[in-house]
Symmetry: C2
Subunit: 409 residues, 2 copies
């Protein structure tokens, strides 16, 4: 029986057929001219999306491999860093430091809350003198809780301190505003299977000139993740070791589709989908987990109904309604449901999710008026479409047509 | 214009359409039941092919990442190891050690020659006492020169010494005889894009109980490549970080095709194709680079005709005849041509290669009698097909049919 899945986990995200088909093209020589052209085009496209003229290096690894590369290439054993954490991925960043003998002072914000610029400022004030932290680690979008940290403002505070700023934007880049150069981010990491809508297997790491200066002093061991080797190979449009060629090809196709939409529109779409998701959940009395002022455009976490184990709700969604969502990670296991809306996601996907959720709630003896979540989502999306992020840009694009219609009336 | 390529490089190798199509299936949840079943089946299939009951761990990385995992998980800073090298990949193994502060004593064999068991015995005799090497590193198939080292005999010598045996079999496993358990290999590495005929992006690492004991003492930093985390996740049929799901699916399909053929037949086919390649090259007076007693079943390196730059020959093969071969690596650049015959390769692919090579030699004013290389290859393959590697096994399988035919006559 044909039972397509509605894949609503925060990565791997849904990959369009055109991108899957691209990934199934015959293999090519990774030392030949076709791959050279591919890698050059990919690098340029990623620089555009990440708003950077810095190096963007593509590793055959998952996002966690990219995070490790960020640490291993800029720090030394015994170095101190200030690691802000608001969830499982903030903790992972600090754990990587620990594995490398980097002394991470972790500043934890309760799950569901954001890292606020004032907290960063206060903690940085404690980091003065010779023995202070060399770098600040921040998660951009915390996938485990559905929180988007106010990175622009955090970055401004860190810039004032002169410390290196290393950002896990694995699930933030490509769906949330991110200005690598303008905000002064030294190292950022993202990965193919998140907002980029390609299969997993490729991590991308940006390196600023300041980060390369830090590289010169870094004594941590690195071979496969040695970013200088990637930079040297990139000058020949190659990678140091055999790259995941088919994923690179897929990524080029997904970036082509995303470029057609345009980054501003992509960011607006994600805000609209996230808002639609939150309103739909609230319409059936489900409690949002994250502070809504910092709600993630990528993933929304919610509590199951009272006396319902999240794992049970997730299982029914999957087994009976072909809808795949994620649960809580680490200490939140069984307590959270996470529904993702990053990548190639449309309002129809969110409506489909709510149709499945409504049926699941009925199965759990939590009946709701049919259509109430779907309708709330649709209404919220329609409202958001009227509220563009960048009114000026949108108005400029929209005005001619609007004016033309107006003058004809 | 439709110009399919004859991809004759030693990885990425040709990937059959069925495998590419598998890699283009819709994405699945890497924490769900489908992926759990996939990973369990893949692990079991790889254990069968690698003749091991030890752990086989699948990393999202290229083979070089697997080599790094082998070092980082079994050794400590300052440890001494004995690193035998007969080419660029032997050198890479030693370079990874150096990056991690492991003291590798490199024993170099001239390019084109094999690492002989007597050499290993002599060098191990120098490694006595408390401060001696903890491990021996050996390349199984040296891709840069086309040499298959006599691993079975080397392993026997290393076993006698009690030292840990770590084998780079990235391009050997799946096309050359390899008995992980029977030969006592502690750690072996291979990768999806070599003999396994899947796209690049997945490295496989085997770990013996002795290797896990070494893990306990290892102090080298590891996070993404921490094999204990892979082992712990595997118990839940998961991976620690997001795996290259589509490559895992492809690998399952390619292993299914390979299992239909059977490992003994695969090894015989590779021997036949390698011999056909050597005879075809010799038929047009091209000089084989490797000691033929240790000729690789995966790749054959040859010298270009006198006064011809290998890069020029490779360029004509590619641009005019759509045949993609590799050149010399490192210090052999411009001096070697390498034609691969590992993975899903048939005699037709080798004949097609020779048709392109014959035309290329004509273009280089090195005319040959048309068909001479192709014919020599065909003849050599037909002869090899009469000489199975494992006569007993083949005879046992073949006898009933043969006897039946015989008795009917």
């Amino acid at each position: 029986m044909y039972r397509p899945q509605n894949l609503r986990i925060p990565g791997p995200t849904f990959v369009p057929q055109a991108v899957l088909a691209a990934s199934a093209r015959p293999l090519i020589n990774h030392r030949g001219p076709e791959f050279a052209a591919l890698l050059a085009a990919l690098t340029r496209a990623l620089q555009d999306f990440l708003r950077t003229e810095h190096d963007v290096l593509l590793l055959t690894a998952s996002g966690s491999g990219g995070m490790e590369a960020a640490i291993a290439n800029t720090l030394s054993s015994g170095d101190k860093v200030l690691a802000f954490s608001c969830g499982a991925f903030g903790e992972r960043f600090a754990a990587i430091c620990k594995a490398y003998g980097v002394d991470a002072r972790r500043v934890d914000v309760p799950y569901g809350r954001a890292i606020e610029p004032d907290l960063v400022r206060d903690e940085l004030a404690k980091e003065k003198g010779k023995d202070s932290a060399k770098a600040v680690l921040v998660t951009h979008n915390e996938t485990s809780t559905g929180v988007l940290n106010p990175l622009k403002d955090i970055a401004a505070v860190v810039r004032d301190s002169g410390k290196l700023l290393i950002v896990d934007s694995v699930s933030g880049a490509g769906c949330a505003e991110l200005e690598i150069d303008a905000w002064g981010i030294d190292v950022a990491i993202t990965a193919s299977q998140k907002a980029w809508g390609a299969p997993p297997g490729v991590a991308m790491v940006t390196m600023s000139p300041r980060a390369w200066k830090a590289y010169e002093k870094s004594n941590l061991p690195k071979a496969y993740f040695d970013l200088a080797a990637y930079k040297a190979s990139l000058e020949k449009a190659q990678t140091p070791a055999t790259p995941a060629v088919t994923i690179f090809i897929a990524l080029q196709e997904s970036l082509r589709l995303l470029a057609e939409e345009g980054l501003d529109a992509i960011i607006r779409r994600h805000q609209g989908l996230a808002r639609a998701t939150r309103r739909g959940l609230q319409a059936v009395n489900l409690q949002l987990f994250a502070d809504e002022r910092y709600a993630s455009p990528a993933v929304t976490a919610f509590r199951p109904p009272a006396r319902v184990d999240a794992r049970n709700l997730i299982r029914i969604l999957r087994d009976d309604h072909d809808t795949i969502v994620a649960g809580g990670q680490g200490k939140m296991e069984g307590q959270l449901v996470r529904v993702a809306h990053l990548g190639f996601v449309t309002l129809q996907d969110i409506v489909a999710f709510f149709s499945a959720l409504e049926l699941t709630l009925r199965d759990l003896n939590q009946p709701v008026e049919p259509g109430v979540a779907m309708t709330a989502a649709l209404r919220a999306y329609a409202e958001t479409a009227q509220q563009p992020t960048r009114p000026a840009a949108r108005a400029a694009a929209a005005r001619p047509a609007t004016d033309a219609v107006a003058s004809r009336r």
